[in-house]
């Protein structure tokens, strides 16, 4: 069992959980993820580490409430525990020696972008962060980013309620046009990563994306997480989650992410109706 130390609600549908997991905390590097199971009947779901402390023995993740498992998670509080937490899984993000980097975090992807930007800055890269959200309410971790030694923080919202009224690709394109970046890293929904990669491709700016295919074991055993990169089929959990954004087949990724969309929706609806009466 992995005791929950603290929880925090960051926006209507985004939550942060901190759990005690000393063995894992000792090993995490930016860009890696964990797999958790809430309870005995639970699914194994992957979430990226948003922060950790090896001294204090905790790890933290930020998740968007989308389906049954993330609903269950959002109802847990300090004092509860998670049945299983495994990690750190996946290859760490490459940091250092990149030069001038733009790190783009869209939506809950900001949670993953945070440790990545921090690690890049610590490794001597010059980091510009572009944060995107639909509106001010959904914007997360802005203060945390402001506390990092960044070159610049650009905030974009779809409706202009915070920062620029733009998609993240607009400032990214300006940076490319100005010749101001040597590398880009995009983390967020598949569609956002796809357009970021399309933007940088014209300028031949190498671009890393952090993919989120459906996973089961997270250790290379099942192949659920396979993605097409260039002419190759690779496994998201052991070969990634970071890949060359210019080579990824995003259409296939998005299609594969929807395999269970219909059944999951029913399960979540069932759960919410039960759950509503339980938490009244």
């Amino acid at each position: 069992m992995f005791p929950i130390i603290a929880t925090r609600q960051l926006s209507e549908s985004v939550f942060e959980t901190t759990v005690s997991a000393p063995a894992i905390a000792a090993k995490v590097r930016a860009g890696q993820f964990l797999i958790l199971r809430v309870d005995e009947a639970g699914e194994r779901i992957p979430l990226t580490f948003s922060d950790w402390s090896s001294d204090e023995g905790w790890v933290r993740f930020i998740f968007m409430r989308v389906g049954k498992t993330t609903h269950k998670l959002s109802h847990l509080a300090a004092g509860d525990a998670l049945l299983d937490v495994v990690g750190p899984l996946g290859k760490p993000t490459h940091v250092g020696g990149l030069g001038r980097v733009a790190v783009v975090g869209g939506g809950v992807g900001a949670a993953v972008a945070y440790p990545v930007a921090r690690a890049m800055a610590a490794a001597g890269d010059e980091v510009t962060v572009i944060l995107g959200a639909r509106n001010r309410e959904l914007l997360i971790l802005e203060d945390e980013f402001r506390a990092l030694p960044l070159k610049e923080l650009v905030v974009c919202t779809d409706d202009g309620s915070a920062g620029r009224k733009d998609l993240v690709t607009a400032p990214l394109k300006e940076l490319c046009e100005a010749g101001a970046i040597d590398h880009a890293m995009a983390i967020g929904p598949a569609i956002m990563m796809k357009f970021c990669a399309a933007t940088t491709r014209d300028f031949a700016v190498p671009t890393t994306v952090s993919l989120n295919p459906i996973m089961v074991d997270g250790t290379g055993m099942c192949g659920a997480c396979r993605v097409s990169v260039g002419a190759k089929t690779l496994f998201g959990c052991v070969d990634g989650p970071d890949f060359d954004g210019h080579l990824v087949d995003f259409e296939e990724l998005m299609s594969r992410q929807r395999v269970y969309a219909d059944v999951e929706r029913e399960a979540a609806a069932d759960f919410e109706s039960e759950c509503a009466c339980r938490i009244k």
Partner: protein, 456 residues
Amino acid sequence: MRERDAKQRAKSFDEVNLGYSDEEAHAEAMRCLQCANPTCIEGCPVNIDIKSFIAGIIEGDAKRGVEVLKARNALPSACGRVCPQEEQCEAACVLARKGDPVAIGRLERYLGDLDLACDLEHRCRPDIGAPTGRRVAVVGAGPAGLACAGELARLGHAVTVFESLHAAGGVLLYGIPEFRLPKEIVAAEVEMLVEMGVEIVTDVVIGATHTVDELMGEQGFHAVFVGSGAGLPLFLGIPGENLNGVYSANEFLTRVNLMKAYDFPRHDTPVWRGRKVAVVGGGNVAMDAARTALRLGADEVFLVYRRTEEEMPARKEEVHHAREEGVEFKMLCSPVEIVGRDGWVTGMVATRMELGEPDASGRRAPVCVLDSDFVIECDTVIIALGTRANPLLTNAAPDVELNSRGYIVAGPDGETSKPGVFAGGDIVTGSATVILAMGAGKKAARAIDEWLAGSA
């Protein structure tokens, strides 16, 4: 042995074989000639004293029978069910010459189950040696790791098993389906190991959470046994393989067995339940996937294999059961493309094959028949072509020598190129069998015992 009716069982995850009653077991045991030179024993990879355990049944002394079994095999209920007996002990029985060997596997299962039916404290347990003060880490709670752990505990060493999944059992748990090997049997066998003092720590990936060097260093283990199994599933490398509805057998079986997707939404993990399912392959894994697909409600399940039934590596019993339950065999077919619409599988294009000259393995190699492509309509494809070595652990232990295919190079007793590190099971041999993995684990345990004595 009695079986559930094929029509009924094809929709149910209950075990197919019902096991012997006392009378049936006794009658079968009476067929054993109690040979002066029991050739059967040679046929068993772990040399169980088959003659003596059968004598136990004949004489009505089940307890002794169980003790004889357990002296060599920590998981008799599992092996009695899944060993390829027809190629091993039963093939070597003198009565096999007349075509009707003693049903050794079923008798083994009978005794194993009798033992498991008792309360924990009344179960047969090996004597545990005096504590040696030595600590051994075992990586992987599959048959190799569990057998090694049991033997080490018996020898008085303190054993900790690290398992990356959330439960112990390896392929016995996530691969082999409930209707062949009920999961409560695996759990009970694991329970006994814990009772014997073995510590099992789940949710730990060696190579990620800890490395082998850390186990031997700051964690203070005196030796390590690696039984991490085979890993990454192989795919065909043909177009359309990443369409929705295409599974590796590992993923499909893991969702259903380990994650209990057959019970969705009460269990949270979903699985796509196809109506027309094509399974590619001819081994036990392919049979398990095909029979599982039927149980999830498929109307039609095709088994697509490049050679003929004769060359299929699956156990005869499994082939027979699959056919009886309604799996349709499409032999001498090789998939060339998976086709789909809107991202989902709609069919598989296959080409017809014929058997040519024998290849290196002595089997006649299939060759394509020109212009013979045809389409198998299906909404699910399950690929059961085997696995390759998982690099996760071995990448993190660069000083353990690997062969060209990525498997660990180990000597006859499991010793690797790194002092104090031993290995066995599928991570050494590639996909093999439960009993070979257990045999390797047990042998390595004795070698570890000697190594620990030498390095004291």
